[in-house]
């Protein structure tokens, strides 16, 4: 298993000759919160369906806990908790009854032990007030909470969550993300989303999928740094004209983007360099050499995941 909970090797899926997933090789480390990121229709749900045995891969293989996803589906699913994109349960049963049904797939204990576990997950997911009500009239948020509750009932080694926050309002999203963060020490979480801020908040590892192709995969910091290029950002009062001319003459400066805000008497410089070390030592010195410049901010430009995501998707499309 090599510390990997999920491993896939060149998985592909075609529907009627149309390739929806190509050569996907994933490595999900034990204990990670792995964000599976991509726009709608990228192939995220298809991948999850293949991992769960709902759908068969047209090519490639995969394993979870070191067990084959096709041959050992039952054993794998006994250690997994799954939440679908639009979770559905028996509407004529209450939360407690749905959870009891779910628990009976995993545990052979008497009613007391199972009810104790059910109370635990009801408490964690904040469903106590509605636990004995039939779920027919549940809101989207309550349904999602029940989805998370049933996914946890068996104390899974791996949680697979398909777009767990996409249908929720900001408060509901916050709740779900908090639950995910709280589960971090107890289980590995593999979840799909197209909400970048969620990924940035809770994930430590990401894979970016677009049009069925995995464009990047790795620790979130690495993904962001790989795409940061070598851009320094300086902000200050003054015109920076002399400094810009001097910087342009340096062989390690590739490009300078200059933005002036007259109202605030502020100038924003983006300096792309080919030699980061040289730039680190020299840029600030050059800028400060002109006494009319007052530097208020300086450093290597940090990118948000959104920038990296757009860069990767755009580069992939080319």
């Amino acid at each position: 298993m090599n510390g990997n909970i999920i491993q896939t090797f060149g998985i592909g899926k075609s529907y009627k000759g149309n390739k929806v997933l190509q050569d996907l090789s994933l490595n999900v480390q034990k204990g990670s919160i792995f964000g599976f990121l991509g726009p709608n229709g990228a192939g995220k749900t298809t991948t999850m369906k293949i991992l769960l045995g709902f759908s068969k891969a047209s090519e490639g293989t995969g394993n979870i806990f070191g067990k084959d996803i096709v041959r050992d589906g039952i054993e794998i699913r006994s250690r997994i908790g799954y939440l679908s994109q639009d979770p559905k349960f028996y509407d004529n049963l209450s939360t407690r009854e749905n959870l009891r049904l779910t628990a009976r797939f995993f545990f052979k204990n008497d009613k007391k032990a199972i009810d104790y576990r059910i109370d635990e997950v009801i408490e964690i997911t904040g469903l106590s007030k509605v636990a004995d009500r039939k779920i027919k009239g549940y809101s989207g948020g309550e349904r999602q909470r029940l989805g998370i509750a049933q996914a946890q009932i068996n104390k899974p080694d791996l949680l697979i969550l398909d777009e767990p926050t996409s249908a929720l309002d900001p408060l509901g999203r916050k709740d779900v993300l908090t639950v995910m963060e709280n589960l971090k020490d107890k289980t590995t979480i593999f979840y799909s989303t197209h909400i970048l801020s969620d990924v940035q908040r809770v994930s430590d590892t990401v894979a970016i999928l677009n049009d069925g192709i995995c464009l990047a995969q790795g620790p979130i910091d690495q993904i962001m740094n790989d795409n940061s290029s070598n851009v320094f950002q300086a902000t200050g009062r003054g015109y920076f004209k002399k400094s810009i001319n001097e910087l342009k003459s340096k062989p390690w400066v590739s490009d300078i983007v200059y933005r002036r805000n007259e109202e605030k008497n502020s100038t924003d410089l983006h300096i792309e360099v080919s030699d980061t070390r040289e730039a680190e030592e020299s840029i600030l010195r050059i800028l400060m050499r002109d006494p009319s410049n007052i530097i208020t901010n300086f450093g290597l430009k940090t990118y948000e995941l959104e920038d990296s995501f757009i860069n990767i998707i755009t580069a992939g499309a080319k």
Binding site: F54, R71, I74, R77, S84, L101, F105, K108, A113, I114
Partner: protein
Amino acid sequence: MEYALERIKLRNNWTAGLSNMLNAEFKNWFLTKRIWTQILVWSIILFGLVVLAGEENFAVSQSIGLYSTFIGVFACIGVIVSAQGVIIRERRSGVTSWLLSKPVSRTSYIISKFAGNLSGYTIAMCLVPTLLTYTYLSFRTGELLPVRGLMGFMAIVVLYFSFYLSMTIMLGSFFRNRGAVAGIPIGVFFAESLFSGVLPELAPYFPSGLVVSEGSNSIAVDLFLNETIGFYGSIITTSSLTLLFFFIAIWRFNREEL
């Protein structure tokens, strides 16, 4: 106080999750008002029609024949209409995906749907109305009719229900359209009557020969009256086709992309 949970040792075989799935199906039938509604409806339809149609001078054999034919027509259509959504409804709603994300084999899923629904139909459409009819006819004749015949009658009716239920479930594993799932078995039902007229030599092999009396007594009626069964063609055909449909349903559902 904390309880230690004991995990079920699960293996990758077809029985995985079966007992829990069966339990859920039986609860869905018998621990809800569904069973009482169905018993009430079918008792009124089947037993009620026998009482209404059975005049005082109607022979017991005629009343049983009539009752058997009512089951063969009305209850059969009831089974088809009620079972059409068994697979489709849950698959469309996403409940199937939820259940199969647990350690449940697809074979267990189909078996539980078949067993759960068959037991529900048996009690609501056969056991209770037949016991009412049996009691009514026994009162009318002033003596208890043979219990062995009653058991044989019900066994044949259950076989007849199994045939249409397995066919409907099999079609549910192929199609996502309720029209096809209900329409084909209803078509088969009417085609039997049609072909019985066109090809009378094949009629003794048709499932309808189990319960529907056309000219001669059906097998179920013969059993009820403790008479000898002349020909087992319908029993053999219906049993074989039921098993075939059942295994095709399992085979197909195991290949289904959810």
